[in-house]
C-alpha cells in the first residue's frame, strides 16, 4: 500500500464509513451506562458508577458545567473529563463575553465542534458520548452528542453498555407527566435490569423553577 492510500484509510474504510469514529462509538458502548430524560418542567441525567471494589471509591460521572447546566457521559472517562473542562470553559467564556449564562444550544454546538475537530485529522476521535441537560430562556433541554460530533435533541437518551435495551425500556415507560421520583425510579429500574446487578447511580437534574442544576450523589434503589 502506498503512503497515500494508507493515509486515506485513516479516515474512511472501504465502505465509506469513518472507521475511527465508528470504533470510538464502539468504545462508548463498552462504558458504564448513562441516561437522560426530559420532561416539560425538568430534565435529569444519570450514570452508573461502575461497581465497584470495596476499597475503591466510585468515580465521578455527573458534572455541573455551569449553574444551569449538567452533563454525564459514557466511554473513556478521561476523555469525558477533558470534554467537561472544555464545556466549563465555553460556559465561562460566554459569561465573560455577554455577561449572561450560555444557552444550552450554543453549548451543545461548542461540544459538537470540539468532538468533530477530532474527526477531520489523523488523530484519535474522543471515545465519549455525552448527555447534556440544561435550562435557558427557551425552556428545559436535553441533548446527546456522539464522538462524530453529531448532536441529538430529545426526551430520552441512553449511551454506554446496554444502551439499546435501555432506550427501548425508556420508550415504553416514558410519560410526560412523570414526577422526578418516578423518573428516578425508572432510571434505577432500567440500569438495574441492563446491568444485572444492584447499581450505584449518580444523578443530577435541572428544573424550570429555579433554573439550577442540582448534583446528587447516589440514587439508592
Amino acid at each position: 500500500m502506498t503512503a497515500d492510500q494508507y493515509r486515506f484509510q485513516v479516515f474512511y474504510g472501504p465502505e465509506g464509513r469513518m472507521t475511527l469514529v465508528d470504533r470510538a462509538l464502539e468504545a462508548v458502548s463498552k462504558g458504564a451506562i448513562s441516561l437522560g430524560l426530559r420532561f416539560p418542567n425538568y430534565a435529569v441525567v444519570a450514570s452508573m458508577a461502575r461497581p465497584v471494589r470495596k476499597l475503591i471509591q466510585p468515580g465521578e460521572k455527573v458534572f455541573e458545567v455551569d449553574e444551569h447546566l449538567g452533563v454525564t457521559g459514557s466511554g473513556y472517562i478521561s476523555d469525558l473529563y477533558k470534554l467537561v473542562d472544555q464545556m466549563r470553559l465555553e460556559a465561562q467564556r460566554h459569561r465573560l463575553t455577554y455577561g449572561t449564562p450560555i444557552d444550552v444550544g450554543s453549548l451543545v454546538e461548542a461540544v459538537s465542534q470540539y468532538l468533530h475537530s477530532y474527526t477531520i485529522y489523523p488523530v484519535r476521535p474522543q471515545g465519549v458520548s455525552v448527555i447534556i441537560a440544561g435550562v435557558d430562556k427557551m425552556g428545559v433541554h436535553l441533548y446527546q452528542v456522539d464522538p462524530s460530533g453529531t448532536a441529538f435533541r430529545g426526551l430520552g437518551f441512553a449511551v454506554g453498555m446496554g444502551a439499546e435495551e435501555a432506550i427501548q425500556q425508556l420508550e415504553s415507560s416514558y410519560s410526560e407527566d412523570m414526577k422526578l421520583e418516578e423518573a428516578l425510579s425508572l432510571i434505577h429500574e432500567v440500569v438495574k435490569k441492563v446491568g444485572g446487578v444492584e447499581p450505584l447511580i449518580q444523578y443530577g437534574y435541572v428544573d424550570l423553577e429555579d433554573k439550577r442544576f442540582k448534583m446528587k450523589k447516589y440514587l439508592e434503589g
Partner: protein
Amino acid sequence: MTTIVGVRAVDGVVLASDRRASKGFFISSKTTKKILKVDETLAVAIAGLLSDAEYLVNVVRAERNLISLRRGFPMTVAESAKLISNLAYRGIKNYIPYFAELIIAGVDDEGAHVLSSDMSGSIISEEYTSSGSGSPIAYGVLEGLYHEGLTLDEARVIAVKAVEAAMQRDPGSGNGVDVHAIPVRGG
C-alpha cells in the same frame, strides 16, 4: 463635540442627538446621523470619533444577528452593551482605544434599558444620560425635567428639550435634533 441624550421611560426608550460634525472650528457637516439603529429593538447614539463608533455598532449588529440565529432568541440590551464594553476595554488596555462614548438604548423581555459606555470599557445602566461636549447643558435640562414614571411621549419631549438647550450654548452642537424612540414590545 456633539450632544446626545438617552432617557428611559416606563414604556420604552428614547435617544436624541444634534446633527453637527466639527473639524476644529469648522462645521464639517450639518446633517450627521448620530443615532444608529442596530435593529428594531436597539439603537445607539454616538459621541466621539464617528468611525470608531460605527465600527462598534457594526460589530454589535453582526453579533446580534449571529447569536439570535444560533440560540433562537434575541440578545438582550445588557448583553449587547457588554459586547461593546469588552471591545472598548480591550482597546484601552492595548493602547489603541476606541475614541467613542455611546448611549445604548433598547427594549427586551426585561423591559426598557438605557446604558452608557465610554472608552475605558465601563458600562452603566441609567435612567437618563447624556454625552458629548453639550452634555453639561443637556444634564441641566434633564435634572430639571426628568422624573420617575415618564411615558415615552413625555420622555421624547424632555430629550429634545435637553438637546435644544445644549445647541443654544454649546458651540460643538447644533443644526437640528434627531430623535429615535423605541417602544417596549406590545406597547
